[in-house]
Amino acid sequence: MNALTETLGQKLGRAGGVNLLPLVVAAVAFVLIGAPSSWVTLTVAGLAMGMMLFLMASGLSLVFGLMDVLNFGHSAFVSFGAFISATVLAGLGGWLTADSWVLNSLALAAAYLAAICFGLVAGWFFETVIIKPVYRDHLRQILITIGAMIVAEQTILAFWGGTPLSVARPNFLEGSWIIGDVSIEIYRAFAFALGAVVFIMLYLVLNRTRIGLLIRAGVENREMVEALGFRVDRLFVGVFMLGSALAALGGAMWAGYETLITPALGGQLMIVVFIVVIIGGLGSIEGTLLGAILVGLMTNYIGFLAPKLALASNMILMVAILLWRPNGLRPAVK
């Protein structure tokens, strides 16, 4: 019996191991849902949500992996990204509704770029002013980053007010593709594709460049990288800025996905983002992607099958995975 489970485990490992979990979840959901067209819609929504969660979570995961920094203020970048891009889109309303996909995409690109630039600058400021004084002190990190998050939320409230803000979508991303009796929202497919492109770029930087090599090594053992002659603290500023920019981009995409946003958006998403990071394994972007896709799919399937369980399902997923693999599905350190 033992030998049997072992060979089964090996076979599974060769076939992709934990990477197959989303497929398993999707297959089970297919049976439970019954209606293929609903299943496709939910799966696309889950994948899109997963990719956006990945953007929000990847920075958090790397930041923790590299410097052991717990940043509860990360959600501020998500919220600001959402509101800034919504404002830019509103300002470029003419381009958005124009009957030209060139103008449409220019408006969208401007909105995303604004969010990314904000993330870079605010990330630099946040790291230098707020995080740097509390390296290696988790309690103070928690207190000061939560404080910063509250300040950020109030700032958004002061600038944009508390009433929900509606977000314009570019014309060419409105509507759905209809294939038979299956309908796929174009914006969701777009969000998935854009997230996938960012993941691939991030993957290539981490696995094909010297900076990426330093980051991966630093996640495993920061002291040793320093003992080899590299200033991990300086590298960390860059990683923090990048992570903040990705979170802001994730927020910007989320705004278009929800189409109605409130200042509480970042805070609400943060619980899910932390679950993603913990499930995936701290410090690994492959793990973060896996966690994000799982959470995205589960949220949508459960939201359809048992709406009352929607929030609890992510918690249950996290507990189950941690019982099975205490360091997450794909921890960065071996």
Binding site: L214, R216, E220, L228, G229, V333, K334
Partner: protein, 234 residues
């Protein structure tokens, strides 16, 4: 000529005073051995030299320059390499990636790489393997190789023979002898036979203080002193 000089070093870790008063001089060339019982403060001494703990008061002079308050990375750049007790291997990186990371330029100097492969053939055989899958001895070789992939003036090596099979310990001794021809080694060692065969000068640390220093030859001849400073029962 003195390469490294430790002056009245006192190191606290958190609220614990670990090193009370450490002073010794490492001359240029050859192997200098630091001996001492478990918990005496040998690892803490190496970490303090490397800037991973900050001694105060006390100073570390390298080639006459006070490096005590320098950042670890800057200390490394001055020509000091560190092979820690736990080897500090990056397990998810390949053997070659571990090595290339330790170069300043990001490229191998072919002659140095060839020399490393001659010293440790396993590192050539498994160059594309992830380092976590290596055996303990191979990991130790990789850690040492990383320290010599660039020219360095001084290598700090912490208990490299711990847990290794005797045949690998012999190979390690051979490698150290060759490395010591061009680079000074500050070796922390519990295995006295191994230490004795390599060391020219030595010091014994006991309870955070230097209890003895001198030539290895004299220390090896004085079994009473060895018993007093190194035996487990004392």
């Amino acid at each position: 000529m003195t390469l490294l000089s430790i002056r009245n070093m006192k190191t606290d870790i958190g609220q614990y005073a670990v090193l009370h008063d450490i002073s010794f001089d490492v001359p240029e060339g050859g192997v200098f051995v630091l001996l001492g019982r478990n918990g005496a403060g040998k690892t803490t001494t190496l970490r303090s030299i490397m800037g991973l703990w900050k001694p105060s008061p006390g100073s570390v002079l390298f080639k006459g320059e006070d490096i005590t308050s320098h950042h670890t990375a800057d200390i490394a750049r001055k020509g000091i390499a560190y092979v820690p007790e736990n080897m500090g291997i990056f397990g998810t990186l390949t053997v070659d990636e571990n090595l290339i990371l330790a170069t300043t330029s990001g490229r191998f100097d072919p002659a140095r790489l060839a020399r490393i492969h001659a010293l440790f053939p396993a590192l050539e055989q498994f160059r594309d393997k992830q380092a976590w899958s290596l055996s303990g001895g191979q990991k130790q070789m990789l850690s040492v190789a990383r320290a010599i992939i660039e020219p360095r003036a001084l290598i700090l090596i912490d208990e490299p023979t711990k847990g290794l099979a005797p045949s690998i310990v012999d190979a390690m001794a051979g490698a150290f002898r060759e490395i010591a021809q061009t680079t000074t080694i500050l070796l922390v060692e519990q295995n006295f036979t191994f230490a004795r065969s390599l060391g020219r000068d030595m010091a014994v640390i006991d309870d955070g203080r230097v209890a003895h220093s001198g030539s290895m030859e004299d220390f090896a001849a004085d079994t009473a002193l060895q018993d007093r400073l190194l035996s487990l029962s004392a």
